[in-house]
């Protein structure tokens, strides 16, 4: 059961990347059925960041995360295929899955090509960490604040 909820959280993260995710407040209960609300919130902050910041940059950070940490094994063949498709412009972020990215170890240049522009990954990462602190660090913050939802990108 616990591992399936862990996988559900990953599936939710993948949905954030493809912009097919439900708003965090809608799935909070489902994704913390194993009592691991903190783990769920680590992904919810990406969904929230997508609402507040440049959504494509947040998606780019997720692509990098999946590409580097979803598998401990590097798959050079898979990487070669994906990099070629990225360079030829035949793949978009909405086509990607966590499995497709796992083990590919994409560089930031590849991420920028997918996103369509350059950005400072360190600065964007810090913004997400700040948002996490802002949303969930205080003990009183038991639920995610509701904001206007816009998924029109």
């Amino acid at each position: 059961m616990e591992i399936r909820i862990e996988l559900a959280r990953l599936a939710y993260a993948e949905n954030i990347l493809r912009c097919t995710n439900e708003p965090p407040e809608m799935v909070e209960d489902l994704l913390s059925l194993d009592g691991e609300l903190e783990k769920a919130r680590r992904w919810f902050v990406f969904a929230e960041a997508k609402r507040r910041f440049d959504p494509n940059v947040v998606r780019g950070l997720l692509v990098y995360l999946f590409s580097h940490y979803a598998s401990s094994e590097f798959d050079p063949r898979k990487r070669e295929q994906l990099v070629r498709e990225i360079n030829e412009g035949r793949v978009r972020m909405r086509d990607l899955t966590i499995e497709r990215l796992a083990g590919t170890r994409l560089s930031w240049e590849h991420i920028f090509r997918l996103v369509g522009r350059q950005f400072n990954p360190t600065r964007e990462k810090e913004k997400i960490k700040e948002l996490y602190t802002q949303l969930y660090a205080s003990a009183s913050a038991t639920t995610i604040p509701r904001t206007e939802v816009s998924y029109g990108h």
Binding site: R4, I5, E6, E22, Y69, A70, E109
Partner: protein, 187 residues
């Protein structure tokens, strides 16, 4: 949105590894499954033709309602969505091999398909086809330009009259004058 971004040097750029988020994946491991997606489903997944949800909705099916979520948790999904297959393959050694095989096969097919048109579109072939097209167009324009507006007819000079005039007697109308052509062409 940050619009005043100055590009970072490459070595500095590649130093950012988002390592703080790595622990989000630490519980990820291979699992034993009783149900696996069919060959057809996997082929559709590899070709990026698998839908996000059965109704092709905007939102993934897994979290649409509690029933769907329970089915996901049980590992027996009634209809495989793209997300279901991705998560399954990520954690199933058997399906990872199948997907790798299908991906390699698709890759080689696409590569050979890409090489084919490249050969046909070599510069000399395109040049030859272009030259033939230009020549054909020039021939048509020349023919239209030179074609006379009226069909050719033999000359009919005044010195050689091309008609003759005969007076005939008709019982009904009396004497009438009839004009005959003596050579083809117009008067």
């Amino acid at each position: 949105m940050d619009t005043n971004y100055t590009p970072l040097p490459e070595d500095e750029l590649n130093r950012e590894e988002l390592a703080e988020f790595a622990e989000l994946f630490k519980d990820l491991k291979l699992l034993e499954y009783s149900d696996h997606p069919s060959e057809e489903i996997l082929r559709a997944y590899v070709a990026n033709r698998l839908l996000e949800s059965p109704g092709a909705g905007r939102v993934g099916a897994t979290f649409r309602d509690e029933q769907a979520f329970k089915k996901f948790l049980s590992g027996r999904v009634p209809r495989w969505t793209r997300s279901d297959v991705a998560i399954h393959v990520l954690t199933c050694a058997r399906c990872q091999e199948r997907v790798a095989y299908l991906r390699a096969r698709r890759w080689s097919l696409l590569s050979s398909a890409r090489q084919q048109p490249k050969e046909e579109q070599s510069w000399w072939r395109r040049f030859a086809w272009g030259a033939v097209g230009v020549a054909a167009a020039a021939a048509i324009i020349a023919a239209l330009w030179l074609w006379p507006s009226n069909p050719p007819s033999p000359m009919c000079w005044i010195e050689q009259p091309c008609w003759t005039q005969v007076v005939q007697d008709s019982p009904m109308k009396g004497s009438i004058m009839v004009v005959y052509r003596t050579s083809p062409g117009r008067f």
